[in-house]
Subunit: 240 residues, 2 copies
DNA sequence: GTAAACCCTGTACAACGTACAGTACCGTCT
DNA sequence: AGACGGTACTGTACGTTGTACAGGGTTTAC
């Protein structure tokens, strides 16, 4: 049985509890396995990351995967932490916390665009990994120079990241999510019949929002709308 | 085969396309099936809503469920829409949009507390249902009296609801989510060993946030923090 | 040289969603 | 009255999933 998850997460860091040295050499390192899994996920979404598919992609049998990883859930945590560790972060430089938060949000959006499957991983154990902790540390520094308390600093960061995640979930096209446009055109007739004149406001706003959604830069506009509101909501951190 | 999803969603509304009248009477109505499914989900989470379990709970065979519903995914949409339709909404009265948004957010949090499994349903087709549309309509009215545009009205509502959903996802105890406290105490030692003195800021803030998380009213505090920021972020809708 | 630890394989199981074929029932049409 | 056809339901079965379990071969530690 492989080492416990925490040790796998920290496998490359100095001081890592190494695996025993006896027995045949493994054909793949843990990192290899995680990388292949990520490649599969980038291509076909989380659903494509089955133990069997991963095994085949490594030219192993299904059960051999469990030599490197304790369970599929653990694998997902390793994937997420790896992605967090590889994330490209725009350096903050000497900017204000507002532009830092903006960059941070944009970086995270890019991350979720590159790896939409991250939206499907919601395991709290991810927070134990070095990549995730490094990311957390870096992003907390966005609020340096303000007089925000530690607890609120954490809350503020969570607030920003939650916004990014929500928006990405709606924007990003997961392989699982079929095109909503098709669905819409397909059912709008019958829906109109049912609706009649009820819910006038919903119909008016829904139509406006729906039409804009087809437009060229709507996703971008929704993003800017929200991000502006997030930053405005954080208010004047400097004087508090 | 049952009627298509849209017709099932609108089954109780006047003008609904009724099912054919021939054949034996069904032992259960669509509403019965959906209600039983919701009961299962309330008890054991979405994972407990298997076709077989639902069938057993109705004293049917597994395949008979498909007489009432086209697929499990459709069933989930029906469940979500039903929950949205049953949602208790605090009337807005004559209050300002700020307190309306606050109530709206609180109502939605309560909804997600009562039915945590809603967090696991992310099907856009839910938006086609009468319950969801009624909810949408009602919540859009929160911004009545302001001069906000239709598109921004939709964006603002989405912004609020996304915040609620994110916070609920972290707060609410899903049956799937084991207690994070256990996990933490179990791995904090080894983690401390790996961390050493690196990521000082993350460690300090994480400790502060972690300790507060054990505290009695932390979830409440995080909620208030975020909600205040959401409303502040929306700014002065009256003059725009 | 022996024993322990390790990588890897093959077989197998339980649970899942659901396709397909068939049976009993019932309103509708001839 | 009788045939038709749509409906509710059942039973069997298939493919896919994660993974438990029992070995077999290989390498290192003692």
């Amino acid at each position: 049985m492989p080492r416990p998850l925490i040790d796998l997460l920290w496998r490359d860091r100095p001081g890592a509890t190494a695996g025993g040295s006896r027995g045949p050499r493994a054909r793949y390192s843990t990192g290899d396995v995680v990388s292949r899994a990520i490649a599969l996920a980038d291509e076909g979404g989380l659903a494509a990351v089955t133990v069997r598919a991963l095994a085949q992609s490594l030219e192993l049998t299904a059960m051999s995967v469990y030599t490197h990883v304790n369970s599929r859930d653990d694998l997902l945590v390793l994937m997420a932490d790896h992605a967090h560790g590889q994330m490209t972060t725009t350096p903050f430089g000497r900017s204000t916390w507002r532009t830092r938060v903006r960059r941070l949000a944009e970086d995270n959006l890019a991350l979720l665009r590159d790896h939409p499957w991250l939206l499907g991983i919601d395991d709290p154990r991810t927070a134990l990994g070095p990549g995730t902790i490094a990311k957390y540390d870096h992003e907390l520094h966005a609020f340096d120079g303000t007089s925000i308390s530690d607890i609120r600093r954490d809350a503020a960061l969570t607030f920003v990241l939650d916004f990014v995640r929500s928006t990405a979930a709606r924007t990003v096209m997961t392989p699982a999510t079929g095109d909503f446009g098709e669905l819409w055109e397909q059912s709008v007739d019958r829906l109109a019949g049912y609706l009649g004149d009820d819910f006038a406001l919903a119909q008016r706003v829904g139509r406006a929002a729906g039409e804009a959604m087809g437009g060229p830069h709507d996703a971008e506009r929704a993003w800017q709308f929200g991000l502006t509101r997030v930053i405005a909501g954080l208010g004047d951190l400097d004087s508090r």
